[in-house]
Symmetry: C2
Subunit: 262 residues, 2 copies
């Protein structure tokens, strides 16, 4: 099977034009079919504030009301997505910027109202990702750039977590490609010593996960992150990398972040 | 050659959700490959006002400064484009929403500064439209939905007139398809009596244009509209229709608007 690389970036890359430029340069030279998935960032918060749309929180959870949905649709699918595409095109990468509505690439379900009404938030399941649509685009030589907006197939756009999209796309596409998923975050990887960037654990196998939790190497917010990563691997993804965007060029040399494998 | 229909809609369709729904229904049932091109509308003006971005005019000409470009990128490429795509998907049309930056579909040149600096406005020429990119998407079964944002290929997004995009796309695609261009506007077509919708001129051939100007049937703003339409026909477009969006279903019956032909 052909190799497919799926990379997710977040606010810490998007919010800093120098970081973004550097990352997109490294992304452009990555060989083979690839997909970029990006989250939001400060621009969404700033645009909301300028438009007088307040962040709605219920019990500490962020709510996507109709005004917030309008803002994130404008900022994620418009401003951020199209600027990333224009930059990739300038670097020679044939980027095509998309939401989950485009080509019906990601059909979500509006999160059911239980204790909290999250508003226009979309959840994904096994059948959410259209493998034929993405495969058609990849085979035509396009580089899909996906933002964190999906749809329900019945005219409603939905706000969907970008990490979740990345994982769902990687799992679904592993039926057609040898899929490698890369999560870029603020750290260089899983660290033996959380305060020392030089202590990156280069590889964690599925069987290492429990012992690393037990000895405290994997703790706090890393536990759900790695749990989700191993879930993706159990569902067919060949490897999941977790590391820092500015080191992406190292990925071919085996010195990028932490590699999680079966 | 296979038939390709390219339809341009403007604010009078986009600003009214009932008109838009009705139009998209008729668009969905049109047979064969098709491309939708949409302009802006009131939402852009309203969003600009909410963000405190004032419309900049110089000598009666609208200027796209950097703040205006941000707003139109958000509204055209984000809000309007993605809502149209979500509605088309719900109707069973495999829409994919794009700017000219996506897949490098339309590469424009920033308008040179002469008497007026129009700001971030893109002009098109014969080589602006990527026929391979659009053909790849059409052959994969997608229905491209283009908004009025292009790029210069060097990271800069540009605001470009949607009528101009429609014409440039139709001319370029006529090398690969039998291309039919449809401009939807507020009138039912070219009218013998401008105050009587029942007096639509059903067909105007290239050789009729000068006599119709001379006898006053074609006057005012219709002159440049028809001039541009006949230019497109001279450059390979098979036909150009001008009519009202809510009558699109008539197009197969020969009773939609005014048909311009060689």
């Amino acid at each position: 099977m052909q190799k497919l690389t799926i990379i997710k970036i977040g606010g810490n890359v998007i919010d800093n034009s120098e970081n973004l430029h550097h990352f997109l340069q490294d992304f452009t030279v990555l060989e083979g079919p690839k997909i970029l998935i990006h989250g939001g960032g400060k621009i969404a918060t700033e645009t909301s504030a300028s438009l007088g749309v307040e962040a709605k929180m219920v019990d500490g959870r962020r709510i996507t009301d109709i005004d917030t949905l309008r803002v994130v649709t404008m900022v994620y699918a418009g401003l951020i997505n199209k600027n990333i595409v224009a930059q990739l095109q300038a670097k020679g990468s044939n980027a095509i910027g998309l939401t989950g509505a485009d080509g019906n690439i990601i059909k979500a379900k509006k999160r059911p109202v239980k204790e909290i009404d999250y508003g226009f938030v979309g959840d994904l399941d096994e059948s959410s990702v259209s493998v034929p649509s993405l495969t058609n685009l990849l085979q035509a030589g396009f580089v899909p750039v996906l933002c964190a907006i999906t749809h329900d197939g019945e005219t409603q756009l939905l706000n969907t977590n970008a990490d979740t999209i990345a994982s769902a796309v990687a799992v679904a596409m592993s039926s057609a490609y040898e899929t490698h998923l890369v999560y870029c975050f603020e750290k260089k990887g899983v660290l033996k010593d959380v305060n020392d960037d030089a202590t990156v654990v280069r590889e964690i196998r599925s069987s290492d996960f429990e012992p690393l939790k037990a000895d405290g190497t994997v703790a706090g917010g890393m536990i759900p992150k790695l749990h989700n990563a191993f879930e993706a691997i159990n569902k067919g993804v060949t490897s999941v990398y977790i590391g820092k965007a500015d080191e992406l060029a190292e990925i071919g040399k085996g010195t990028f972040g932490t590699k999680l494998s079966p």
